[in-house]
Every structure is written in C-alpha cells, then in structure tokens.
C-alpha cells in the first residue's frame, strides 16, 4: 500500500495554512500506511543567500544539539539551529557544506543529513502519521508546497531510514507508492557511478537514479521520463523541487492517484478521501493522472503549467 499526499499552492494567501492542510491529508492516509510517515515542506523559512539548510536527524534531541555545538567549536562556525523533536534544521554557509557533512560522518555517526537545500526541510519517523505530524508540529508549518507519505513497508524494514521522503539532491525529494523489482541491480549500477546508499530500500534507489540522471544533465522531466524504461516495478512517484512538483505513474498504473486543481492549488492524493478537507474541493477539477506521463507544475509568477496536459 502506502499513501501519498501533495499540495502545491498557487495562491500565496493559503501559504500560512499549508501545514494544517497537509497534516489533515496525511492523517487521512493512515489506513494506507500506518508504519511510518514523513513529509517535505518548502518555504518554512528560506535559507539566506549563500547558505544552505540542512535537516539533521538523530536518535534524540540531546545527540543533535551536541553535534551542532561540536560543529561550531571544531569548525569555527556560528550556527542557528531550529530543533523539532528528533530533527534539527541548521543553516550553514554553502561553502562549508562539505566540511560540515564530513565532520558529521567522522564525529556524529548517529546523526544523518536527511535533506539539504535553500527551501526544503524533510521530517520522517516511525509511528502513526498523526503522531509523526504532531511531533514535528506539521500543522504549524507554512510554505508554498509540501509532499507527504504514509508507509506500509514491503521491500525493506520499518525504520526511520526506510521512511519517505527520500532526498534526491538539493531541494529535491521523492515519495513512492509501489515496489521496484530491479532495485538491487540498479543500486549496483549507481554505486559504480559513485552514488552511495544508506539502506536496502527500493525508493532510495529511485531517488538516487533521478539524482544521477540530473547530475548527467537531464532535466527533472527527462529524468522521470527515462525512469519509465529504466525502473521496473510498480510506482506512483511524487517529486518535490524548489519551485514545483511533479507526478509520474508507471505504464501499468496499478497504484492509485487522484489529483485536484483549482485556481488556488494543485493537490495530489492516493485516494480522493485525502483531498476532501481542501478549500473549494467541490468546485475543483478532479482527475486521475494518466499512466506513463510526466505531470509537472512550476511556481512561475503565480501561474502554473503542466509539462504535458491531458
């Protein structure tokens, strides 16, 4: 199973409500994924120019704050960290990002960098979606768009590292409903290309695949299009980027997907139930994305567009 939700706001007036709306959508998808939950939020506070936001995750708040003070003293940095339960968002100068990552790997093995970017923050934990949303105060978050995932594990263990979203690069993340059957082979191929993987999870491989394709020069849309031939299995992917989000389903399209579009937003849900709490849903254009077709929305001067509109 697994449940996916996504909300992309066209109307900035709704931005203060993003977290509240998204947490309602996430909770409705509990039946599809009670093991763990996670979400990516864009714009909960943009990083200043020249700096990058890292979302760190640790076993507990104490370990995280110790790591942050270690970074400050050892690397001579002055960092502002926003702690939320087992996660902490730390803004670091972009030029120091690699030093920070290297220091964490060497000195704080129990702390993971879940995401990096100017706008994106990722939070995920094991537990019921409602409790995960509450632990991180999702309802209190604001922003332009966000995607969330409720997990029912099939391909790998129920751990925080196996929860979605997976980051695919700076300000980019992926959630997945389905299962990939060629992820072991693809993981080996990507490792030869220099990518590294933290888990045995199939979705992490899909995220790595998209990162690799984009590193080689593909656009997000091109990377998603080539995933249709290179990834084998069932999938509905929702991808978040700094300025938009994209949806693609495999050619067989067994995994469900419903979208709703109004002048104010574009919303995605694994089931229509997830969308019923959105404002003006009665008047929305509700449709199912077609199989093997990439849909993408961008925040361009308040207008939205699909890459390929049915």
């Amino acid at each position: 199973m697994c449940g996916i939700v996504g909300l992309f706001l066209k109307n900035p007036a709704l931005e203060p409500q993003l977290g509240t709306l998204l947490s309602g959508m996430l909770e409705t998808m509990t039946g599809r994924g009670p093991d763990s939950a996670g979400f990516a939020i864009y714009g909960a506070g943009d990083a200043e120019d020249g700096s990058v936001k890292l979302t760190l995750r640790g076993p507990d708040a104490g370990t995280l704050s110790k790591a942050v003070s270690g970074l400050e003293s050892d690397l001579g940095l002055s960092l502002s960290a926003l702690a939320r339960d087992t996660h902490s968002v730390v803004a670091v100068p972009a030029k120091d990002e690699q030093r920070v990552r290297a220091w964490l790997t060497a000195n704080a093995p129990r702390v993971d960098v879940v995401s990096a970017g100017r706008r994106m923050e990722i939070y995920k934990e094991v537990g019921l979606p409602a409790s995960v949303a509450e632990r991180f105060d999702l309802a209190g978050m604001t922003g332009s768009h966000g995607i969330g995932h409720t997990r029912m594990a099939t391909e790998s263990a129920v751990t925080t590292n196996g929860a979605h979203p997976f980051s695919t690069g700076a300000d980019e993340c992926l959630v997945h409903n389905g299962s990939l059957s060629n992820h072991n082979d693809m993981r080996r191929r990507l490792e030869r290309e220099g990518l590294s993987f933290a888990t045995k999870n199939d979705t992490e491989v899909a995220a790595g695949y998209l990162s690799w394709r984009m590193r080689e020069g593909a656009s997000l849309k091109e990377a998603l299009e080539s995933s249709l031939t290179d990834l084998d299995g069932f999938f509905t992917f929702v991808v978040g980027t700094e300025s938009g989000f994209a949806v693609v389903r495999d050619p067989i399209a067994c995994k469900p997907a419903v979208m709703a579009e109004t002048d104010d937003y574009v919303a995605f849900g694994s089931e229509y139930r997830a969308l019923v709490g959105l404002p003006g849903i009665d008047k929305a254009r509700v449709f199912e994305p077609e199989p093997a077709r990439v849909y993408a929305w961008e925040r361009n001067a308040g207008t939205s567009q699909t890459a390929e509109r049915p």
């Binding site: 399209a253 469900p256 199912e288 077609e290």
Partner: protein, 229 residues
C-alpha cells in the same frame, strides 16, 4: 424516504441498515449525503430499493449489488459496481479504475470517463460509458457488453473471451487476441437495446460504433501445440 448523513453517522451503520431491508420494504428511496470519498458505500445490497448518493465516493461503491439502483451524483473510486449481480448503478461523474470488474449482471452507466481496466473480467454485466475508457479495459472479459461513446485506451480486450465490445471513437491499441469484427444487424439491435437501457435511445446512432471481440485463438486448444504434451 430515509436519508443518511455520512459526516454524522458511520458508514457501517448505513450499510447495516441497507442490508437489513426486506424484499417488500416500503423504504425504497434512500438519500446519502457527505460521502467524502469513503469506501464501500452501499456495497452488498440485495433489495429492490434506490440509493442516491450526493457527492464523490471511494472504492467499491455498490460492489456486489443485487436488485438495487445506486445513483452517484459525483465521481466514483476504484471498483464501482465490482461483482454486481443485478440491478443498476449510475455514476454521473467519472469512474476510476476497474469499474464493473468481474460483474455478472445488471447495468452500469458512467456519464463521464472510466479509468483503466474498465470491465476487467466482466462476466455478464452491461456497461455503458458515455465518455472514454482507460488502458487494459475488458481484460479477460468473459460475457456481457461494454459500450463506449468515446475512445478506448491501450490493449483493449486483451485475452478476451466472449464479451462484446462496442466502441464509437478510436481505439489506441487492441490487446492480444482481440479483433475488430463485422457489425451485423443483430449486433446493431443488441447495441440499440443497451443504449436504450442507458437512456440513450435516439440520441446515439448504433451505426457509428465498431464491434470488437475475441479471435478465439488463445483459449481454444490448437492442434499444432499437440507436440508439447
């Protein structure tokens, strides 16, 4: 005329009340409001009653239906009227995947489009879709009719048995063993009867449709394969 507000009462209460109806019940007109995409609304009915639902429903609405008429003033999720035995199900919006799957009888009408796998493994139901249908529709369909006023997606009628498919628009591709067949008077009569049942008599010309059916190469034993045994 019982009415039921699903934002106030649980769906199981509604379905229990509908399941408890006797064949000679006087409560023959039911209204359901605020379905909000919930699953299995009015599933498993077996009484000559009408249930009208105001809004969008989730999975398996009117599944396993017998005798009842279920009218949905909205969209329907996966598997509407799946395994219907008899009766009438009318979706006034769009239907998701697997509409009318495995259904044995009755009539399913979709005013909008139906998604992938419409009529998959159908076993005698009549399905009329006024819009278009998605890919792999009528996969392994055994009996009944599927009538589509719009277009059909990829792999129509893959591994088809004896269901009859009438498509007015284009067909993106035919599945294995599905072929276009001659439309004779008997087929136009049959199609007219189905259109009439769906309230389309006189509105749509049966001559505009093409008929598709099984080439019967897959499910009959071919003597050339005798050497395999």
């Amino acid at each position: 005329m019982p009415s039921f507000d699903l934002s106030r009462s649980p769906r199981r209460e509604l379905n229990r009340a509908l399941h408890a109806l006797r064949q000679d019940t006087n409560e023959t007109q039911w209204t359901v409001s605020n379905p909000e995409g919930q699953h299995a609304i009015a599933a498993g009915l077996d009484a000559p009653v009408t249930v009208e639902i105001e809004g969008n429903v989730g999975y398996y609405c009117a599944g396993m239906n017998k005798q009842a008429s279920v009218l949905i003033n909205g969209n329907a999720g996966v598997g509407v009227a799946e395994n219907m035995i008899s009766g009438f199900v009318h979706v006034r919006g769009d239907a998701s995947q697997s509409a009318g799957a495995t259904a044995h009888g009755g009539l399913l009408v979709v005013d909008g489009n139906a998604g992938a796998r419409c009529g998959i493994s159908m076993k005698g139901v009549d399905i009329v879709v006024k819009g278009s249908i998605g890919h792999m529709s009528a996969f392994m369909a055994q009996a009944g009719t599927l009538t589509v006023l719009g277009d059909a997606g990829e792999a129509l009628g893959d591994s088809l048995y004896e269901a009859r498919l009438f498509i007015r628009g284009s067909v993106k591709s035919l599945g294995a063993d599905c072929i276009e067949k001659e439309m004779r008077d008997e087929h136009r009569e049959l199609l007219y009867a189905k259109l009439k049942a769906a309230g389309l008599a006189g509105e749509v010309d049966p001559a505009e449709f093409k008929r598709y059916g099984s080439a019967r190469r897959l499910y009959h034993f071919h003597v050339d394969n005798a050497g395999a045994y």
